[in-house]
Symmetry: C2
Subunit: 554 residues, 2 copies
């Protein structure tokens, strides 16, 4: 790979920095763009009514002819979830490992896009050529099988992108992370390392997934006379494998419950990523054929998601599973920040039904802690460090690790989404900023709920709405009916009759004044009504409902 024109490599994170989720990064060299990952984010609390959030890829659309393909590191939603939406505008091939492609195909099927999307399965160790780039897939470990780091070779130099990873010397399935290859590539010279920052604030190392298997065995032994329900992440195939192993060891039948878990596990089973002993899995309908203590349920809902199987069981809303005193419920998960209260609610509900709830020490993280990050830096030995995957505090924590390891401060870049960094052997610099953003998906609508609609929802949520309606005679400019006031989400009208009656009088006075003064500009009249009612309500209630005047003319 010769850099004939002395061009520079441009790296442009289009999402995923300053936040967890929505990971997507463009690598650009001359006429070629390769995009790494294409994830969604789950809505924040103030994004009312939003189902999910996808990145604004205007930059890719403006450079459509350059885009050679999507290269995906692993099959988690925050790395693949936006693909069906983005591929509609940017229909280029998608490259990844076998399980990852299979999970992407599940999504494409739902969106009826399987036929129109090119996919290619890549093995670890294999490379693909995409325009001026070559991209090599390197085996890593993570909380989903088939995760990859990427070595992105360009004429301006090599970038190593870890994806989400941990170092697991004793993985449940397949090989350990290919540390040798990291070392080999590093020895040849790496321009930049883009490394997972999620756990960069945590000292030490992340425990092997296998330790959870040992914990499960102990817990299953301790509670072998009770029905066991284990909640975990739908996509953690190795975790499910270990729970199945423990169940088999203690001679229990296993039910997999929850739509997303059934999807992932059946895909993983078809592809051979999970190994279920014969006669171990049963259908949920068969549950009643066995004594409770001979059964195990592996279920979704470990984050307290209100519609997930475990939450429905906890609330007695599940059609087939009812929590009984003596049930043992194991949370094989930690609450993701923001989900603590929801998880606690489910724990309370389960406890109140007599279940014995275990929510500690049955989980390990899928992300590298500080000592693992140091290991990768030492193997790759990059000139530039660009911490990725995490909120600002996490990126900053990794930046400080990189500095401790001797990378010069001016070679460490804590980037923001949209920043354009240009680099080659001689220098690296943030040179530009491109448009990025979050696009809301609400039902079938993609992007039709923007900041104005969201502000309205927040206003409505806070104090409700008061609607003023009146009918005017166009000719004589006289009031024919109204003003009436209808409210929703403000006060319970039957218990606030006086307030509403007085509010109507206030608006009536305002209208009369306008008509007396022969104001025929309805916009103006609306503002007068709005101000009069708003002032009155604020004074009486210290609240600020949305006020919407509607004038009908006949």
């Amino acid at each position: 790979m010769k850099n004939v024109n002395n061009s520079k490599l441009r790296i442009i994170p289009l999402g995923g920095l300053e936040q967890i989720g929505m990971n997507i990064t463009a690598f650009e060299f001359e006429d070629s763009i390769v995009v790494v990952d294409c994830g969604l984010a789950f809505p924040e609390d103030d994004m009312l009514g939003i189902d999910l959030v996808i990145p604004d890829v205007s930059y890719l659309k403006q450079n459509l002819s350059k885009v050679k393909g999507f290269v995906i590191t692993h099959g988690h939603e925050d790395h693949i979830g936006a693909l069906p939406y983005i591929l509609k505008d940017i229909n280029v091939p998608v490259y990844s490992t076998k399980l990852t492609i299979a999970l992407i195909e599940n999504k494409l099927k739902e969106h009826n896009m399987l036929r129109t999307t090119k996919r290619k399965v890549v093995r670890h160790g294999q490379s693909i050529n995409l325009g001026k780039f070559r991209v090599e897939f390197i085996k890593t470990n993570h909380s989903i099988a088939d995760a990859s780091a990427l070595a992105i070779y360009s004429p301006a130099g090599t970038v190593v992108h870890t994806g989400d990873f941990k170092v697991d010397y004793t993985p449940v399935y397949g090989d350990s992370i290919d540390l040798q290859r990291f070392g080999e590539i590093g020895k040849k010279g790496v321009l930049a390392l883009m490394c997972d920052s999620t756990n960069a604030e945590r000292p030490g190392i992340t425990q092997s997934e296998k330790t959870v298997g040992r914990t499960m065995d102990t817990l299953f032994a301790e509670h072998c006379n009770s029905r066991i329900i284990v909640a975990t992440f739908a996509s953690n195939v190795d975790r499910v494998q270990q729970i199945i192993n423990s169940a088999y060891k203690y001679n229990k039948k296993v039910v997999i419950e929850g739509r997303s878990m059934v999807n992932v596990i059946s895909t993983a089973a078809e592809l051979g990523y999970i190994n279920v002993p014969d006669n171990t899995l049963i259908e949920i309908e068969q549950l009643n054929n066995y004594p409770p203590e001979a059964t195990v349920l592996i279920t979704t809902g470990s984050q307290g998601e209100s519609m997930a199987a475990l939450s429905r069981m906890a609330q007695n809303l599940h059609r087939r599973v009812h929590i009984m005193p003596g049930d043992t419920v194991i949370f094989s998960s930690n609450p993701i920040p923001g989900n603590e209260k929801a998880v606690s609610k489910v724990i309370n509900e389960l406890s109140a039904k007599g279940a014995n709830v275990i929510f500690q020490d049955a989980h390990v993280s899928g992300h590298a802690c500080q000592e693992e990050i140091k290991l990768i830096y030492s193997l790759v030995h990059p000139k530039y460090a660009i911490p990725v995957h995490g909120e600002y505090r996490h990126l900053k924590a990794q930046a400080s690790i990189a500095e401790q390891l001797g990378i010069e401060k001016e070679n460490i870049f804590v980037m923001r989404s949209g920043d354009v960094i240009e680099m080659d052997e001689n220098s690296a610099k943030i040179v530009d900023k491109v448009h990025t953003g979050a696009i809301f998906v609400d039902g079938l609508g993609v992007g039709d709920v923007g900041s104005i609609v969201m502000r309205d929802r927040q206003h409505l949520a806070e104090d409700g709405i008061m609607i003023i309606v009146l009918t005017l005679d166009k000719g004589s400019n006289t009031l024919l009916s109204g003003p009436d006031i209808v409210s929703r989400g403000f006060v319970y009208v039957r218990e606030s009759e006086d307030l509403m009656e007085q509010a109507r009088a206030v608006v009536y006075d305002a209208v009369e004044k306008c008509l007396d003064r022969h104001i025929t500009d309805w916009g103006k009249m609306k503002n007068v009504m709005k101000d009069a009612l708003g002032d009155y309500i604020r004074k009486k209630t210290k609240r600020n409902p949305m006020i919407l005047p509607i004038i009908m003319e006949v």
Copy 2:
């Protein structure tokens, strides 16, 4: 105290169980009721627009003549915050320790109720007589000074209520918890122990508040060349004392910032609960007269509350304090469950402005862990155990500790709010359930936002509102104007003109059909329009906005 009629003691928690906050418990014996604590709860995420939540005390109102007084264990909001609201209906004297009464008086002043409310300061070791009860205040330790446990003596026996507590052998101010008195009372025979469950899931002991002072000294030494900002709980007077001590030691001036912290600390200083060396405190206006590294700010906002001082600093919205690179910000707090994301947001914003943020190991809890709970049980040795203060999981955890300590399972009561337990030496039993609940405070309104209004707000928040307006001629039953559709929080109309145009056509058809069929029942016509529009919108968008038809007649 002789139990002449062999009456039983009734204990009725009116709030505070199955939740954190809103602590209030009635103790009833014959014609006397004593109420322990009167706290508020902060709104849950789904309580849109609500400022705070207070308990429904219908039971006390129905038994008004029996109520002898409120006995308050300590000055935290979840124990005193509902007093101004409840005292309006139940105007009885309030009894507590000096600092607690002073903090209650601050509240009463705001509500203009100081003149109409009787208060009495009680010292630790002192008892008060309230009808058939005698209540003794016992010194404990907690994250606010002047916390008390209560021994509640009735003719049917003695109940010990710990309030919120921990065992601190080396408190910052005043004495250690009066363990001797717990032992003495226990030796005489205690019917029931109502013990703080907040940390009942945590093994071991809670560290002394003094350990935070040592940490502060270390952090101040390490960062003595930088301005230091410490965020902590406004009411933790001992914490503020220790931060001031460290500041003094390192020759720094201290600013107290944030309304609630200024309030509590000035009250505490007036009463002698905090000891500030001369020339240490300065006003925030004087901050610029000193080099940054010679100053310390102690501020509110440790929970990421969006309007608190630290959050405003982090967002550059604070009038006088601007975060500078090199500032050291210490969170002397842990996020309360539910606040994790808000805290993380502030940490990110502070880091992004170049501050060095320390958020670990500069805090200890104010609540007893398992070994301290065991200690209190062993000293009090109650016949019955009633775990209090906590969610169900926490009550359950304490119940299991009580069982381990040899209390018979049938003598342990995990109660729910409203449960009435009757007890004496011979038996204890939940015999009844009284009405309880949460009353929403929104602005000046107390209770005018109920479940219907809340459901409307949730609906509005989720998908917005579509309003259909039309004017009909009353005589001829013909359409004079409309139907018009106005929406808020649904879609941005300018970008969805087609959808809105077609929606209008759908409604128009529905109206025409009604008029053709001579339907004159407007309720029916409204339903027809609502269904037609709802079906159309659901089909087109998979959304479910609130639909509100308004018919004007002239």
